[in-house]
């Protein structure tokens, strides 16, 4: 057990690294997306537009933080804070390294090593939904309310498939502790092989869970302007964006942890670097999907979630349980 100040330092470092990752994910997304569409993307601020996230931040902070007259002010302000807070908090249980021995302290490679860390991540994700719903409702605008409704319906329906997809890994590893799951993958095999169906379901449900295209109905801009954050501006809007991107990063990190061996590499014990590289690949796939696939219709989204993903995930968990029982 680390002394509390080591945890504090780790938490501080991780939260800042995640925020920098968020900033440069937006840069990477804009850059890759534009190259896929035959454009240059940001290339004015700094070399290759690398200072673009900083320019965006300065712009957002200086913009007017507008509050609609009929909005309920307290909830309106609390909503983006809540969703960002839960999104950032979820990263605390993701193991990113083997742990190090620095001077006379053993520093573990995870901020909080909770025995139920997987459940914690899902719980925090569900709490984050409140931020979207409250934000949409408190804005007192029809587009925000519609967007919040869609967000709520989509996130709740896909959370079921997401949890069931993960259940296969949990049954196979026999633990809910992420560090333990990573440790098992380091000693035997990575779970993406035996749990391939689980991985596919996890990825699809995760895309819907983070409302990334093609499942970006909560902010379907051609239909409902911007969804639940229609009435937000300035840094409050920025916080919602931040929570979405951090959510995407956390979910990618969770996928890497559960299916691709976390910080273990195929060779060379590089630890966090492997973790980062795998994360980058997953984020790249998210962006690639955005460039390639059109948005689903609402009934298609619901049918896909309830009639395809959920039965497949259930069956996967069931078969995994049978195999595990048979082998033991």
């Amino acid at each position: 057990m680390d002394p509390w100040w080591i945890d504090a330092i780790k938490g501080f470092l991780i939260i800042n690294i995640v925020l920098v990752c968020f900033a440069y994910t937006t840069w990477l997304e804009r850059k890759l997306l534009s190259r896929m569409q035959g454009r240059f993307g940001p290339n004015r601020a700094g070399p290759f537009g690398l200072l673009q996230p900083i320019a965006d931040l300065v712009k957002l902070v200086r913009k007017e933080a507008f509050t609609p007259m009929s909005a309920s002010a307290k909830l309106y302000i609390a909503a983006p804070v809540l969703s960002t807070f839960t999104a950032l908090l979820a990263f605390a249980v993701i193991p990113f390294g083997a742990g190090w021995h620095i001077w006379k302290w053993d520093v573990s490679g995870v901020v909080v090593d909770a025995p139920i860390s997987l459940v914690l991540i899902f719980a925090l994700g569900s709490l984050g939904v409140y931020g979207f719903i409250i934000g949409g409702w408190a804005s007192d605008s029809k587009y925000s309310t519609l967007g919040a409704m869609r967000t709520c319906a989509q996130l709740v329906s896909y959370e079921v498939s997401l949890a069931l997809a993960v259940l296969g890994v949990v049954i196979q590893a026999g633990t809910l502790n992420l560090s333990e799951i990573v440790h098992q993958q380091g000693t035997q095999f990575w779970f993406f092989g035996p749990q391939f169906v689980g991985l596919v379901v996890f990825f699809l449900a995760g895309t819907a869970e983070t409302s990334r295209p093609p499942f970006d109905l909560p902010e379907g801009d051609t239909e409902i302007v911007a969804g639940y954050h229609t009435e937000y501006s300035g840094m409050r809007w920025g916080l919602f964006q931040m929570s979405e991107y951090v959510h995407m990063i956390t979910l990618s990190a969770l996928g890497v942890t559960l299916f691709f061996g976390g910080w273990h590499g195929p060779w060379a014990p590089l630890g966090p670097l492997w973790f980062f590289l795998k994360l980058l690949v997953v984020v790249f796939i998210f962006i690639w999907m955005r460039a390639s696939l059109p948005r689903l219709r609402y009934d298609q989204l619901m049918r896909f979630g309830w009639k395809i993903l959920l039965p497949v995930a259930t069956l996967n968990a069931f078969v995994t349980a049978l195999v595990v029982v048979a082998v033991n």
Binding site: S34, R35, M36, G38, R39, W288, A291, S292, L293
Partner: protein
């Protein structure tokens, strides 16, 4: 349906991936400027005769033709010791409010002396609306920036006479 859905989707993914390595077709605007068309209608230009007298005689036909009502002409008599234009009168005040102008080109069509034409300049944004009211001196002055113009011979529409001869 489902057995062609997945290959088709993967094909789409292949296309987007291939595009990453291609050169973007965007033209970097402030550095690279596309030549304007020969008949392009940009900022107005007032013209002089070869002997230095103004072509504009202050008849206000351009102001009458203007659908946006952005031209203001106040005419005055030419006198022997103050001869400005070639005609009887001249435009003492000639202002175009470029924030209202729609660049339709009716003024150059209306002008009986081809005194006003629409030039090629298009980078005329300002921070203040007042700066967009162009006075006679500004309209008589030559454009500061050199705008590249496309070769007229590659288009089959003739360039109007007043574009080239005023």
């Amino acid at each position: 349906m489902a057995n062609e859905l997945i290959p088709a989707t993967l094909k789409g993914f292949a296309v987007t991936f291939r595009e990453i390595f291609k050169k973007p077709i965007t033209q970097q605007y402030p550095e690279v400027k596309r030549p304007v068309y020969p008949r392009f209608r940009g900022r107005h230009q007032l013209h002089l005769h070869a002997n230095g007298l103004e072509k504009c005689v202050g008849c206000s036909l351009c102001a009458a033709a203007c659908p946006a009502d952005c031209i203001r002409v106040v005419a005055d008599e030419n006198t022997p010791d103050n001869r400005v234009s070639a005609g009887e009168r001249y435009a003492r005040i000639y202002e175009i409010n470029l924030s209202r102008c729609i660049f339709c080109g009716y003024c150059e069509l209306a002008c009986p002396f081809d005194a006003i034409t629409l030039g090629n300049e298009y980078e005329i944004s300002e921070y203040s609306r007042d700066d967009l009211i162009y006075t006679k001196d500004m309209l008589l002055g030559r454009p500061v920036k050199k705008i590249p113009v496309a070769d007229p011979s590659i288009y089959d529409t003739p360039v109007p006479y007043y574009k080239t001869h005023s």
